[in-house]
């Protein structure tokens, strides 16, 4: 249902909507992805579309932008009052509808200017590329998005945040009227996110309407003028956010979550069951004086003298802005998988251990769940079962199991499958069978597969790097439950996250990092977002570790 007329919105009166999608229904070989979905975007507004993974957000945007051509769906799309029927993306772009996907579509080897005009090159009279015009126009666009780089700079030299700005410049070069962004800040740090959101507001004021798909509810509250919530391929509701200069927005996160999951999530974090073993409180992981240099640039110290401890049954967080060195710390401790080791020791259960290679680190009782499960976590081509077993294959050999066919080095497939089934049930991995390819699972379920793999190595210490990145609210809660259960069984958990509410909700203690150093240690009782933020932005703390 769309919002009835007459609601107080950011725009006075009720001008003609820039975009109207009416009764959109889309099915994929019998499976309904969208059912009777409505979406109305008014001129000069930023409209947020939110919903859990699989709710149909991306499909809806693909219908809108022409990825799914006219005729492959039912319903009507009206743009600026006229019915439109796009047969491909270019047709949509000619009308001024540009979509920027979650995975950036830039060619790293080409320059900023070449990327901006890729497929849309400016030609001179002779048909060759008009380089002067290209660079001049690119400079103008870069200024508009606030990116201070030369147009000749190769895109590969830019960070993700700046690449995102290049994408927007590219959209602007196409005379964009409606800009669609799919999870624009998912890969950005707080600073870049803030800049991007600010830019979207500027563009809105210049008349570019925007549709933003986001999981980050605080962002939606910050920039959206109205919100459409999808659930299971249907429009649940459309809400207007009242931005008044004095009062806070009326739309609360709880309200959004309720719409998205269809129920109240009174507790976004499960209740902790404390670990009651005899050795509760004993130190499980102790890292001392860990120092690592950048893999390419030897003068840069990325992790600088970090010392920390995690006790059995304890969940300890590490907070830090992007580039603070959290992931680098975790990966170098785990088999020196990042950078150049300079100094430091790791002790597990009070004994110093060798973590020079990944197998050694695993043998020492460490497990590291990566922040980027597609790149560093999963073999997307292989099955759920084989992805779960990958790190503990030597333990699934027949010779260890029942001496039947006791050939060393061979995996007992039946046992492997039973183990996979065990995790499918206990972690609620939604897949038709464990023989399904992991690439076909949703993000949350993929994450559960990676978690299963590492839980099955039976580690003393689990290092979880952004375990809920890109996962919807419902699956997040499930992941939190798993983490709590691990701690309740006496595992030591080190939780790296850039979402402060997550750290505050989950951790017993939180360390903060900035520029490769620990800058603070806060207990659960003392921790607030403000306290953490202050520590995270500290240039230097009073010499830590000495």
């Amino acid at each position: 249902m769309t919002r009835p007329a007459g609601e107080p919105g950011p725009v006075a009166g009720q001008p003609r909507p820039v975009l109207e999608m009416r009764a959109i229904t889309k099915t994929f070989s019998g499976v309904t992805a969208l059912s009777d979905v409505h979406l109305t975007v008014r001129p000069g507004e930023i409209h947020a579309v939110c919903g859990e993974n699989g709710a149909g957000k991306s499909t809806l945007m693909k219908v809108l932008s022409g990825v799914h051509p006219h005729g492959s769906y039912e319903g009507e799309v009206r743009f600026e009052g006229e019915p439109v029927a796009f047969k491909d993306i270019r047709a949509g772009e000619r009308h001024g509808i540009v979509i920027i996907h979650q995975e950036l579509a830039l060619v790293p080897q080409l320059s900023i200017a070449e990327n901006i005009f890729l497929g849309n090159e400016r030609r001179s009279a002779r048909g060759t590329v008009d380089w002067n015009g290209t660079y001049r126009e690119a400079s103008r666009l870069l200024a508009r998005v606030g990116l201070r780089e030369k147009p000749q700079t190769p895109v590969s030299e830019l960070g993700v945040g700046r690449q995102q700005l290049v994408e927007i410049a590219k959209a602007l070069s196409k005379e964009v009227k409606l800009l669609i962004l799919d999870e624009p800040t998912a890969a950005l740090n707080d600073q870049d996110s803030a800049h991007l959101l600010e830019l979207l507001l500027q563009l809105r004021d210049q008349g570019v309407a925007g549709i933003v798909i986001s999981h980050k509810l605080n962002e939606i509250r910050a920039i959206a003028d109205s919100v459409t919530i999808l659930r299971d391929g249907r429009t649940v509701e459309s809400l207007t956010v009242r931005h008044s200069p004095s009062a806070a927005p009326e739309l609360s996160e709880e309200r959004l979550i309720r719409g998205m999951v269809g129920r109240d999530l009174d507790h976004r974090f499960p209740d902790r069951t404390p670990y009651r073993g005899e050795d509760a409180g004993r130190i499980a992981l102790a890292v001392d004086g860990w120092t690592v240099r950048h893999p390419a640039d030897h003068r840069r110290t990325v992790v600088d003298g970090v010392s920390l401890t995690v006790r059995r049954g304890e969940i300890v967080g590490i907070a830090g802005l992007m580039g603070a060195g959290r992931t680098e710390l975790a990966m170098s401790v785990f088999g020196r998988s990042y950078g150049q080791y300079v100094a430091g020791t790791v002790a597990v259960g009070g004994r110093e251990v060798d973590t020079r290679t990944v197998p050694a680190a695993i043998a020492a009782g460490l497990a590291y769940v990566t922040e980027d499960r597609k790149r560093y976590g999963l073999n997307l081509l292989d099955t759920v079962q084989r992805n779960i077993s990958l790190a503990s294959l030597p333990g699934m050999r027949r010779s260890d199991a029942g001496r039947r066919n006791g050939v060393r080095g061979f995996v007992d497939e039946h046992r492997e499958r039973r183990i996979a089934e065990h995790y499918r049930t206990s972690l609620n991995i939604k897949t038709p069978t464990v023989a399904e390819r992991v690439g076909r699972l949703s993000g949350g379920n993929q994450q559960k597969v990676v978690l299963s793999r590492w839980i099955h190595t039976d580690p003393q210490v689990l290092i979880l790097d952004e375990p809920t990145r890109g996962i919807d609210v419902g699956a997040k809660y499930e992941i939190y439950t798993v983490i709590d259960a691990l701690a309740a069984r006496g595992k030591a958990v080190l939780l790296l996250s850039s979402e402060l509410p997550e750290l505050l909700g989950m951790c017993d203690r939180i360390y903060t990092m900035a520029e490769g150093r620990l800058t603070g240690e806060v207990t659960r009782a003392e921790a607030t977002q403000e306290v953490l933020m202050r520590h995270m932005t500290l240039r230097q703390m009073t010499e830590n570790g000495s």
Binding site: L381, F410, R437
Partner: protein, 406 residues
């Protein structure tokens, strides 16, 4: 021995719920099942077209011996491809090892058993040489093995001084041309072959049965009983038919026993051994494999050593078949082996494929070659048709994946 079944074990019609299970299983291995059906279709086609010559006992024997070296190469090549690499040097290595074997036996008069072992060792060293650059120095396999292709071809000509060397001892020639010796009373059939066929049937059925009972014991999904019986019947029928065919000629070719052994061993290693799983993981996502404790350099090195040994074996078989070491041996063999792997379901990007699939792919090419020659299609058209088959097989797979992905 199931490698040589001409009927697909699972193309029997089934009841609707079983069908769903089958379709789900089949989709994952679409290209391999598709190729098995295509292979059966080709066999039937040429059987009719050649008025029954294709499946005459002497031609079946011939078909096996003729394609043995390509199949051996394909079994290694598919492992290399699963690991995310390629090996362009195997054709030249076949020639080089054949030449070395000739030098050892013909020039230096070495008995054939030590000469064979030395040849395999040469292959292992050649594989280790290439594996070192690829695994430990990180040079792309395409480059290293392209260099190897030139290097080993040149070395062959140096070793042979441009001449062919012949003849080989009989024992060595039997590697490619020999049959299992006959024992026992005259029965019109070759007795050891019948016995072997029977053993194979018993072993295969035992394996099927035990696997099923273990699956049931673990409470896992199994094929419905009717379908399972049909599968067992098809396997039995195929093995018996092949055994009877071969037994009515000279019996089982020695090289076929060799290949069956390799197929079983390599298939099992790739399917269930830890190192085999690591090969798939490396090819599928190297970074993820490393972070899961896979020793990527050691595994990659081992893959190339294995390929080297298999290329050496293929080289010996080929030299034995020609009864000479020649400078031109093994030309374009790498391309045939690569084509067989891709037809059999391997993926360019690595992480996908099976040893069995590569053998099926190789047999598709082999039956095409043999059948087209029998009906008198010229080698010019044969090349064109084989090229189109490769394109169609991979094209079908890509199309099927895209459709499934929608």
């Amino acid at each position: 021995m199931t490698a040589f079944t001409s009927t697909p074990p699972e193309d029997t019609p089934a009841s609707p719920p079983a069908m769903a299970l089958l379709i789900h299983g089949a989709r994952a291995n679409m290209r391999q099942y598709g190729m098995l059906i295509a292979l059966a279709f080709l066999v039937v086609l040429f059987q009719i077209w050649t008025d029954g010559t294709l499946l005459l006992p002497n031609n079946v024997s011939n078909l096996i011996q003729q394609n043995s070296y390509i199949l051996i190469l394909a079994m290694g090549m598919v492992i290399v491809i699963i690991a995310g690499h390629i090996d362009l040097s195997v054709g030249s290595l076949v020639a080089f090892v054949g030449a070395m074997a000739a030098v050892l036996m013909v020039k230096h008069g070495l008995p054939w058993v030590p000469a064979l072992l030395l040849s395999l060792l040469i292959g292992a060293v050649a594989g280790a040489w290439q594996g070192f650059f690829i695994a430990y120095l990180g040079i792309p396999s395409f480059i290293v093995t392209l260099a190897g292709m030139l290097l080993f071809r040149g070395a062959t000509q140096l070793v042979l001084e441009g001449q062919s060397l012949a003849p080989f001892p009989d024992g060595f020639q039997d590697l490619a041309k020999g049959f299992l010796p006959e024992v026992g009373p005259y029965t019109q059939y070759h007795n050891p072959t019948l016995t072997l066929g029977l053993c194979a049937v018993v072993l295969l059925l035992l394996r099927e049965g035990r696997q099923r009972s273990r699956q049931l014991a673990h409470g896992l999904d199994v094929l419905p009983t009717g379908l399972w019986v049909a599968r067992c019947t098809a396997i039995t029928a195929a093995v018996v038919a092949l055994a009877l065919t071969l037994a009515s000629f000279h019996g089982v070719p020695v090289v076929m026993l060799l290949m069956c052994g390799l197929l079983l061993a390599l298939g099992q290693v790739m399917r269930n051994a830890v190192v085999g799983r690591h090969v798939y993981a490396l090819g599928g996502n190297k970074a993820a494999a490393q972070l899961s404790g896979v020793k990527d350099q050691r595994v990659t090195f081992a893959v190339f050593v294995t390929m080297g040994v298999l290329a050496a074996l293929a080289g010996c078989v080929y030299a034995a078949r020609l009864n000479a070491g020649t400078p031109q041996a093994g030309l374009n063999f790498e391309l045939e082996a690569i084509a067989a792997s891709f037809i059999g379901g391997a993926s360019m990007s690595g992480g996908v494929g099976t040893v069995m699939g590569a053998v099926i792919g190789g047999l598709v090419l082999g039956v095409l070659n043999n059948g087209m020659s029998l009906v008198g299609i010229g080698t010019d058209y044969q090349q064109v048709i084989k090229g189109l088959v490769l394109l169609a097989a991979v094209g079908f797979d890509v199309w099927n994946k895209r459709r499934a992905g929608r």
